[in-house]
């Protein structure tokens, strides 16, 4: 019997906060998205690799990307297609705007109900918010088991999956039934590169909105081939209770944002004496910085 899995990878387009320049933050302390390049969230890339490895092993499997964001987030889906994914869905609707993790996971879980996958992979967390909440919340809403901090899928069959988790003080191997939500850690294998043939095949892929806005300058008429169509889903497509979406579905309120600038008073001067080194080592071990 050949095994085939329907796999969804949750991916987010994020501002690249890894190489932050002077103008990365606005005066009010929020991220200046315009100044930072938009990238595929790095741990979502690790998640995609885990999904593609299952497809390598069971080529009948399908890997779909699911992302929520504005129209330009279709880039994320194309990036996934270039690396071996089969298709993608962009969740985009004005009604989703202003969503916190709760409203986001609601929208994603509604879309996932419609897709009905066997496996859901996501990055542990996104580098813009660092909350690590969306994956677990999705699992909760779908009433599915979840494995967080995953590093490698060790075994999988039609009913269960074995996964290695990377924890602070070691590794743990766990087994679960499927369907399941798995969030993948940055120590998992890096994602494969874009493939030349996949890129040439899917560079014309685009959403209907991109086509209308003429944003995607392509030589091929849209939908010459089915695989060139990137689906866009809004509230109309996924249903659900409108008040759970967007701002109204987001209980998180930002009270205040502070700019933390490290002051010299937080620094300590140490000499090269044995005593000073000894005290530094003890302090670092106590704070788990090393050891």
């Amino acid at each position: 019997m050949t095994k085939a899995f329907k796999i969804v990878v949750l991916a987010k387009q994020v501002p690249d906060t890894r190489n932050v320049g002077k103008n990365a933050m606005k005066e009010d302390g929020t991220v200046n998205r315009a100044a930072l390049p938009a990238i595929f969230n790095p741990e979502d890339m690790n998640a995609l690799e885990q999904a593609l490895r299952i497809k390598d092993k069971y080529p009948e499997s399908k890997v779909l990307l699911l992302t929520m964001g504005p129209g330009r987030a279709a880039d994320i889906i194309r990036e996934g297609l270039y690396r071996g994914a089969d298709g993608g869905i962009l969740l985009t609707d004005r009604k989703f705007a202003g969503a916190d993790t709760l409203a986001t996971s609601y929208a994603i879980s509604m879309a996932l109900k419609k897709i009905d996958p066997d496996l859901i992979f996501a990055g542990r967390q996104a580098i813009d918010g660092d909350t690590a909440q969306v994956g677990p919340q999705v699992a909760q809403k779908l009433d599915l088991p979840q494995i967080t901090y995953a590093e490698e899928v060790l075994e999988i069959d039609k009913t269960k999956i074995q996964v290695k988790r990377r924890l602070e003080r070691g590794i743990e191997i766990v087994e679960s039934s499927i369907p399941i939500v798995i969030t993948v850690h940055a120590t998992a294998p890096e994602c494969r590169p874009r493939n030349a043939k996949q890129l040439m095949k899917f560079k014309h892929a685009r959403t209907l909105s991109e086509e209308h806005d003429n944003e995607h300058n392509s030589y091929l008429p849209l939908y010459t081939m089915d695989y060139l169509k990137i689906e866009e889903w809004g509230v109309n497509e996924i249903g659900g209770d409108e008040k759970n979406y967007g701002l109204s579905g987001s209980p998180t309120k930002v009270k205040k944002i502070e700019n933390i600038v490290f002051q010299a008073k937080e620094s300590k001067k140490l000499s090269s004496s044995v005593q000073d080194m000894d005290s530094l080592m003890k302090e670092l071990i106590a704070s788990h910085t090393i050891g």
Binding site: N19, R192, P193, R194, N195, A196, K197, Q198, L199, M200, K201, K203, Y219, L220, M225, Y227
Partner: protein, 575 residues
């Protein structure tokens, strides 16, 4: 987070060349595969856009993976054990990532899993990879062998071997032997035909074989018993699965240490004949060598680029006498000259590549239908140009990359002599480029006939016809004057005996090269004025370089040759 394609606008500039659309249309034979393969282009713009995007992948892998692994690969190198070669871990990683990205079989037809790219992006990839790690560039670049199989082997052999290239199987071309280096006519490895089995077997030794433990080998061997020259040699393909070849040792080299150089023993190794008997050296290897020389040209330009960037970085960082050393004339002159030589060799590289592209495309078209008389004459014209430019490119780009690595190390001062900076590796890696795939001296031999038969001069006259904007006329005038001086110098040697002509050949080939590169930079400046400084520097230097050569040849008398001949009667102290 480095991208070796995107950070270098000189590369994309090549895709904007006026000939590019014609090249693509020929290569894609009017886009007949669009619809048949989901990744085939439907227009020239579409194809060039794909080249651009795929080069971005190449640039990213080169910057983020290959360049990062280079130091470690250089230090640990491949390992020889029990007759086999094991790559350094970084080499293996490079290989895996490039395979996943589909970067093998780049120029092969789609029916064999290739990308059917024209030579321009293929050569560009070789340049980008070489900038990251010149040693690894050899392993990647040996997919050239697949080109030879595609051009000359039977359909059965093509079907058996070519689809494996895109899956990451590597190649080697097994030509040289202990007593057959530059002189390949002396190859002795024996190919014997077993009539009852209808099979060929190879026996003998090959030496200095790059990537000698490859899955797929092309082997030059003596198939005609009793012969001693090139006409007794045939070409064979060997599959590692068939067994019979062991690696006796790998060389401990000065540079390109990540690329295993092997001594091989063939012990009744089965092989299949490629093409026709007796054409091994005279046709197939010559063609393969031309491809390999273009490859070394690309590798040399990549190394020059790396050397330039290291020098530029260090010259800004290093402060002496209260300011960054780039502020001193002695340093910025060197840097500007490195850049001028780099850009001159690059423009020659892609000009040559375009010529190769066009005549090769006609070659493939002619397999499907008869060429029209116009097409045939055009094909001939470009083939001749490719033959004229390839040795010039190999000679000049490899010499320049050595000069550039030398000057870049000099800019690093004492630090450059230490293992702490990449330049010491680049300097060592550069050294082989003037030696392998035909030494500089042999490139001169291949090029000098185009000096004496007037072909280079005609080509200069053709460039002269191309109009330039008025403000650039003074530059053109200088090149025209250089051309006149060159013609005069050729006159000086014409009618002299062969040894006399051979003696001055390098000077003449270099004069012609300087003029042709000056023209190419002048034409590049017409499309993008950022080339103006390099163009001006290069023309100025070329004038003085050519003056020196002219003056030497002009003052030379046959009598003076005697002083050089006298060294022949001296013997080494050991001998």
């Amino acid at each position: 987070m480095a991208n070796f394609y995107k950070d270098n606008k000189d590369l994309k500039f090549q895709f904007e060349h006026p000939l590019m659309k014609k090249i693509v249309a020929l290569k894609e034979q009017d886009f007949k595969e669009s619809g048949q393969f989901d990744y085939a282009p439907c227009t020239a713009e579409d194809a060039i856009d794909s080249y651009d995007k795929v080069m971005e992948i190449m640039g990213e892998i080169s910057g983020d993976v290959i360049a990062v692994n280079a130091e470690n690969v250089d230090q640990s190198g491949p390992v020889h054990h029990d007759g086999r070669v094991y790559y350094a871990s970084g080499t293996k990683k490079n290989q895996d990532v490039l395979t996943q990205a589909g970067m093998y079989g780049m120029a092969l037809p789609r029916e064999f899993g290739g990308l059917n790219f024209s030579m321009v992006p293929y050569v560009m990839s070789a340049e980008i990879v070489a900038r990251a790690d010149a040693g690894f560039a050899n392993i990647w670049g040996l997919q050239d062998c697949a080109e030879t199989i595609n051009e000359y082997a039977s359909d059965d052999i093509k079907k058996e071997f070519l689809p494996r290239i895109n899956c990451g199987e590597t190649c080697s071309m097994d030509l040289t032997e202990p007593d057959a280096g530059s002189d390949l006519q002396a190859v002795m490895l024996k190919a014997s035909y077993n009539e009852s089995e209808n099979k060929w077997y190879l026996n003998g030794v090959k030496r200095f074989i790059t990537n000698g433990d490859a899955e797929i080998k092309l082997v030059l061997a003596r198939s005609e018993e009793g012969t001693t020259d090139g006409r007794g040699l045939s070409y064979f393909v060997y599959d590692k699965k068939w067994g019979g070849v062991t690696v006796r040792r790998i060389e401990n080299k000065l540079g390109i240490k990540g690329s295993p150089t092997c001594e091989l023993v063939f012990n009744n190794a089965p092989a299949k004949l490629v093409g026709e008997r007796k054409l091994g050296l005279i046709k197939y290897v010559m063609s393969l060598m031309n491809g390999a020389r273009l490859g070394v040209g690309a590798q040399s330009v990549g190394i020059s680029e790396a050397a330039y960037r290291e020098a530029l970085k260090y010259a800004h960082e290093r402060t002496q006498f209260g300011k960054p050393i780039i502020q001193f004339p002695a340093v910025y002159e060197m840097l500007a000259l490195i850049k001028a030589k780099l850009q001159a060799s690059r423009t020659l590289l892609y000009e040559t590549t375009r010529f190769v592209d066009i005549y090769k495309a006609y070659g493939f078209i002619s397999e499907e239908r008869k060429l029209t008389p116009e097409e045939r004459s055009e094909s001939k014209k470009y083939q001749k140009l490719a033959d004229m430019y390839t040795p010039m490119l190999k000679l000049m780009s490899s010499e320049y990359c050595n000069q550039n690595a030398y000057d870049s190390l000099q800019i690093h001062g004492g630090s450059g002599f230490m293992k702490d900076y990449p330049i010491e590796r680049i300097y060592r890696d550069a050294r082989i480029t003037t030696i392998y795939e035909g030494t500089s001296q042999l490139q001169v031999v291949a090029a000098q006939r185009y000096v004496t038969n007037g072909s280079y001069l005609n080509q200069m006259k053709d460039y002269e016809q191309i109009p330039v904007r008025p403000e650039f006329e003074p530059y053109k005038k200088q090149i025209v004057e250089m051309t006149d001086q060159y013609a005069k110098t050729v006159e000086l040697i014409s009618g002299k005996d062969t040894e006399y002509v051979d003696f001055h050949a390098r000077r003449l080939v270099e004069m012609a090269s300087h003029i042709i590169m000056s023209y190419l930079l002048l034409l590049d400046t017409q499309r993008d004025e950022s080339y103006e400084p390099s163009m001006e520097i290069f023309i100025g230097k070329s004038k003085s370089w050519n003056n020196e050569r002219f003056s030497y040849i002009n003052d030379f008398s046959e009598f003076k040759m005697g002083s050089f001949l006298s060294v022949k009667s001296e013997t080494s102290i050991d001998a």
